[in-house]
Amino acid sequence: MLRSIGASSFDDLLANIPESLRLCGDIDVPGPLSEPELMVHMERLAGLNKVPGEVTSFLGGGIYDHAVPAAVHHITGLPHFYTAYTPYQAEVSQGTLQVIYEFQSLIAELTGMEVANASLYDGATAVAEAALMALGIQRKRRKICVSESVNPAARAVLRTYIAAWGIELVEIPLNGGTTDVAAATDACADAAAVIVQQPNFFGLLEPADALSAAAEEAGALLVASVDPISLGLVRPPAEYGAAIAIGEGQSLGSPVAYGGPLLGFMATTSKHARRMPGRIIGTTVDTEGRRGYVMTLQTREQHIRREKATSNICTNQGLVALAATAYLSILGGTGLRELASHVLAKSHYAAAELSKVPGVKLRFDGPFFREFVIELPVEGSVVKEALTDIGIWPGIKCGCYYRDMDNCLLVSVTEKHSRRDIDSLVSGLAAVLATGEA
C-alpha cells in the first residue's frame, strides 16, 4: 500500500511531524494480551468487587438496583444500535432516530411535559443544564436557588457549571427533611430558577404545590428533578407547575455499573422547546410522503451555533436511552404502576420493621418512596462497617453529605428485595447494636 501512496517507507508519511517532536522508543503500557489472558485478568479485577449475590445491598442515593428484563440487554446488544453513531445520515439511521423519538415521548408521558430531549449525560449534569437553560430564558436574572434536599452530587456539579459565570447560588435549608417553604419564598426573589427534587434525596415527598407557588410568586422557573420509577404512582411535575423536568434514568433498565453510564433526561413545555440543550428528534416525511425521523432544531446546537449554542453537549447517552425505551416498553404502563406500588410497599415494610429495633428510629416523618433515613444510637459508619462484615450493606452514610447526620443511614429498597432480605437487615442491625459491636 505504501507503494501506491508513493511513499518509500512509513516514515515518509510523518514528513509533517518534525523529528524532534517524535517519541523515541515505545510507550510503556502492559500487553499485548490474548483474549483468554485478557479475560483472566478482567475476571480477576471484577472478582475483587463485591456485588449483590455475595452481599445484600440497600444502597441507593440516586443509583438503583432494579430488576432488568433479560430482553433489554439483548436489545441494547444488537450491533445495529451499539456500533452506530449519532444519526447524522438520517436515511440509514431510522432505527436509532425512532427509538430516541419514542424515548422522548415516554419521558414526556411520564413527566406530563410536552417535549423532551434525546438525553443528557446523567441526572446531575441535567440539573446543571436545567439551571443554564433557565438563565438563558430569564436573561436578566443571575441567581439560582436549589434545595438542600437535591442530591448532593448534583448540587456539586451545578456549582462547577455555573461558577465561571459569576451566578449566585443559594441553597435553601430544610425543615424536617424537606425544603423549608418559608425559606424558599425568601430565597427565590430574583432567581431564574428554583430547583427541587421529588422524591428528594432522603426519599421524602416535597411540598410541591407550596414550592411551586413560591416560585411563581417570585417569577422564578420551577425545575423538578424527578425519579422515573416513582412516576408510576407519584403526581407528575407538569401538574405542579414545573417549567423544566429533569432526572436520572439509570433505574429504567440499566445496571448500577459503578455509577456509569447513567442517563440524564430533560422535558419542558412547548414554549421553551427551543431553549433545550442537546439533541432533539422530530418526525417529518420523505420525498414520497413516508413518515421518517430526523435530528431537529439543530440551530440551537454547538456544531452550528458554536460559541452561541444553548450548551456544549454533542454526544448524548443514546444506548442508555434505548435501554430505557426497551425497559418501559416491556414493563408497560401497567407494569410500571405495579412496580412502583411494590417498591412503595417494600420500602414501607422495611421502614416499619427497622424502626422496631431498639435504639433505631426514622429520622423524618413525611411520606416517602423507596428510600428513608434511619437514625441510630451510634455513628452510621460504625454500623455500616460491622454489617458489611456479615454481607449486608445497610445504606448510605448521610454524614458524608449532611451536617448533624453522622448517626443516620439512607436505606433504599426495591422490588428485588425479598421480605427475607429485609428481615435479615433488621435482625443484622439488631444483633450489631445489641452485641455492642457497633
Binding site: 441526572g123 415527598l205 404502563g333
Partner: protein, 499 residues
C-alpha cells in the same frame, strides 16, 4: 401474491404507542411478599398520580420484534464501512463488550465501601496511568462523561489555574477549523472565543496567532492533527508563543488515533488535553453515547482536577490499597454525578491491554496508511484543497462536482445507496463542500478499494447523470427527509391522536 419491493415499499414501523394491548405483560415482577399499601394512604392523596402514565402494554416478543425491526434500519460499523471523519468509527473488538458485561463491574454500586470495590478502583487507577503514559501528561481524570464535557473540564481547570495567579483572563483562541464544541465549551467556562483564520495549507497562521495572543489570553485550543487531517508542523512555535504570554495550550484529543506511539502531546508542551475513549480507544459509539472524555494535565494543573482523585498507597494492607481522595481544596469540583462512564473505561482499559505498546503504535501507522491510500486514489476525482500527506483523515471538496449541480450532500446520500456510510460533510467549515474522510485502521484493503470504486462511480455519475446523485438515496428504508418541515411543524413526542 407479490411481495413488496424491498427498496421502495418499506413498511413504516409503528411507534410503540401503536403496538400492544392493555394488560399484556412483557415482564413479571417478583411476588409481593409484604402487605400491599394504598398509595393515597401512604403518600397522601395529593401526591398520587390520578391517571396514566399512558404507556402501552407489550408482550416480550412484540417488544423484541419492534426493536429488532428498527435495528435493521440502521447502518453500523459491524455491517460496513463508516468513514465519518473526526468520529473514528473503528471496529470495536467483542472481547471488550464481554469484559464490561462481567457482573463484578455491572452490579457494583458506587456507594460500596472502598474495600469492596478494589477491582474497579485498580482498573480506573491503572487506566489513568496508561493514558498518562500514552499522552505524556502527568495526571488524568476519568470523570468527564464525553469529549465536550472533557473540554469544559479542561477549560475550567485553566480558569482555576489563572485565577490562582490573580487573573482568570478573558480570552481563548480557537482556529477556524475547530470542532463546534470548542467554542461552545470555552464559552461555558466564561471565556470569549477569539477565532483565528488558518493559512493556505489549513494550518494555524503563526503570524496571526502572534498578533492576537496577549496577556488576556487564557489558552489556545488546538486539535492536532487538525480537522483537515494535517499535523500542525509549527506546533512547537505555537506553543512557545502562547506560553510566552502566560497562556496554556489545550489539545482536543479527538484525533489522537493518529499519534499513538508516535507523538506524546505532553512531551511537546501541551498543558491539558482530553481523550475520547469512544474514538481512539474503541469503545463503541452506542448510536450517540455513552462516550467518555478523560482529561490529562501537567503536574502544575493537577491540583485543579475534578474530585475525587483515585490514589494508590502501597503502605496500606492488601484489599485497601486503592482509595478515593476527596480532600482537594483547589479542585474545580465535580463534572459528573459519580465517577464518569465507568463501563466505557472498562472497554478502553481492555483495549489498551489487548494491543500493548506495539499494537497501539500499529493503530496509528495503519490509520495513516489507510487514509493516505484513499487520498491518493481519490485526489484525481475530487478536489483536494490541502494536498500534503495526511495523517489519519483527509478532506476532499465536491467543488468539481458542484459545477454539475452535485453538492457534497448529494454525494453523501448517494454513498448510502452503495451500502457505505457517508463521510462527515460541510466540516471543517473552512473547506467548501467538504467531505471529511476517516477510514480508521480497522479497514482492510478490499474494503478501501470498494470505497474507492464507489467514489469514482459517483464522480462519473455526477458528470454523466447528476440527477441520479441528486435524487439519492433510493436504496435506503426512506428517501431524503424534509428537515425544514421537522423544525417548522415540531413533533418531538407522540400524542395519541384518536384519544
Amino acid at each position: 401474491m407479490t411481495g413488496p419491493d424491498r427498496t421502495r415499499d418499506t413498511v413504516v414501523e409503528p411507534t410503540i404507542f401503536e403496538l400492544g394491548r392493555p394488560g399484556r405483560r412483557g415482564f413479571r415482577l417478583p411476588e409481593l411478599d409484604v402487605p400491599a399499601l394504598d398509595p393515597a394512604e401512604a403518600l397522601g392523596a395529593a401526591n398520587v398520580r390520578r391517571a396514566g402514565p399512558d404507556i402501552p402494554d407489550l408482550s416480550e416478543p412484540e417488544a423484541v420484534r419492534h426493536f429488532t425491526r428498527l435495528a435493521e434500519l440502521n447502518h453500523h460499523v459491524d455491517r460496513g464501512f463508516y468513514p465519518l471523519g473526526s468520529c473514528t468509527m473503528k471496529y470495536n473488538p467483542k472481547i471488550n463488550e464481554d469484559a464490561a458485561a462481567l457482573p463484578g463491574f455491572t452490579r457494583l454500586h458506587p456507594e460500596a465501601e472502598e474495600r469492596c470495590c478494589q477491582g474497579a478502583l485498580s482498573l480506573m487507577y491503572h487506566l489513568s496511568r496508561h493514558l498518562c503514559e500514552i499522552s505524556g501528561m502527568d495526571a488524568v481524570t476519568l470523570e468527564p462523561p464525553a469529549g465536550a464535557s472533557g473540554e469544559l473540564t479542561g477549560m475550567l481547570m485553566i480558569r482555576a489555574y489563572h485565577a490562582a495567579r490573580g487573573n482568570p483572563r478573558s480570552k481563548v483562541i480557537v482556529p477556524d477549523s475547530a470542532h463546534g464544541t470548542n467554542p461552545a465549551s470555552l464559552t461555558l467556562a466564561g471565556y470569549e472565543a477569539v477565532e483565528i483564520v488558518s493559512d493556505d495549507e489549513g494550518r494555524i497562521d503563526v503570524d496571526e496567532l502572534r498578533r492576537v495572543a496577549d496577556d488576556e489570553t487564557a489558552a489556545i485550543m488546538i486539535t492536532n492533527p487538525n480537522t483537515l487531517g494535517v499535523f500542525e508542523t509549527h506546533i512547537a512555535e505555537i506553543i512557545e508563543i502562547v506560553h510566552g504570554v502566560g497562556g496554556l495550550v489545550y489539545m482536543d484529543g479527538a484525533n489522537l488515533n493518529a499519534l499513538l506511539g508516535i507523538v506524546r502531546p505532553g512531551d511537546i508542551g501541551f498543558d491539558v488535553m482530553h481523550f475520547n475513549l469512544h474514538k481512539t480507544f474503541s469503545a463503541p459509539h452506542g448510536g450517540g453515547g455513552p462516550g467518555s472524555g478523560p482529561v490529562g494535565v501537567t503536574a502544575e494543573l493537577a491540583p485543579y482536577l475534578p474530585y475525587p482523585v483515585i490514589s494508590m498507597d502501597d503502605a496500606r494492607p492488601e484489599g485497601r490499597k486503592f482509595h478515593f481522595d476527596y480532600e482537594r481544596p483547589e479542585s474545580i469540583g465535580k463534572v459528573h454525578g459519580i465517577y464518569g462512564n465507568f463501563l466505557v473505561a472498562v472497554k478502553a482499559y481492555a483495549y489498551i491491554l489487548s494491543l500493548g505498546p506495539s499494537g497501539l503504535r500499529r493503530v496509528a501507522e495503519n490509520a495513516l496508511i489507510n487514509a493516505n491510500y484513499l487520498q491518493t486514489a481519490l485526489r484525481d476525482h475530487y478536489d483536494l484543497p490541502h494536498g500534503d500527506y495526511c495523517q489519519h483523515e483527509f478532506v476532499l471538496s465536491a467543488s468539481k462536482q458542484k459545477r454539475h449541480g452535485v453538492r457534497a450532500l448529494d454525494i453523501a446520500k448517494r454513498l448510502l445507496d452503495f451500502g457505505v456510510h457517508a463521510p462527515t460533510i460541510y466540516f471543517p467549515l473552512i473547506v467548501k463542500e467538504a467531505l471529511m474522510i476517516e477510514p480508521t485502521e480497522t479497514e482492510s484493503r478490499e474494503s478501501l478499494d470498494h470505497f474507492i470504486e464507489v467514489m469514482k462511480a459517483i464522480a462519473l455519475e455526477s458528470e454523466s447523470d447528476p440527477g441520479i446523485v441528486q435524487g439519492a438515496p433510493t436504496a435506503t428504508p426512506v428517501s431524503r427527509l424534509d428537515e425544514a418541515r421537522a423544525a417548522k411543524d415540531l413533533d418531538v413526542a407522540w400524542k395519541r391522536r384518536n384519544a
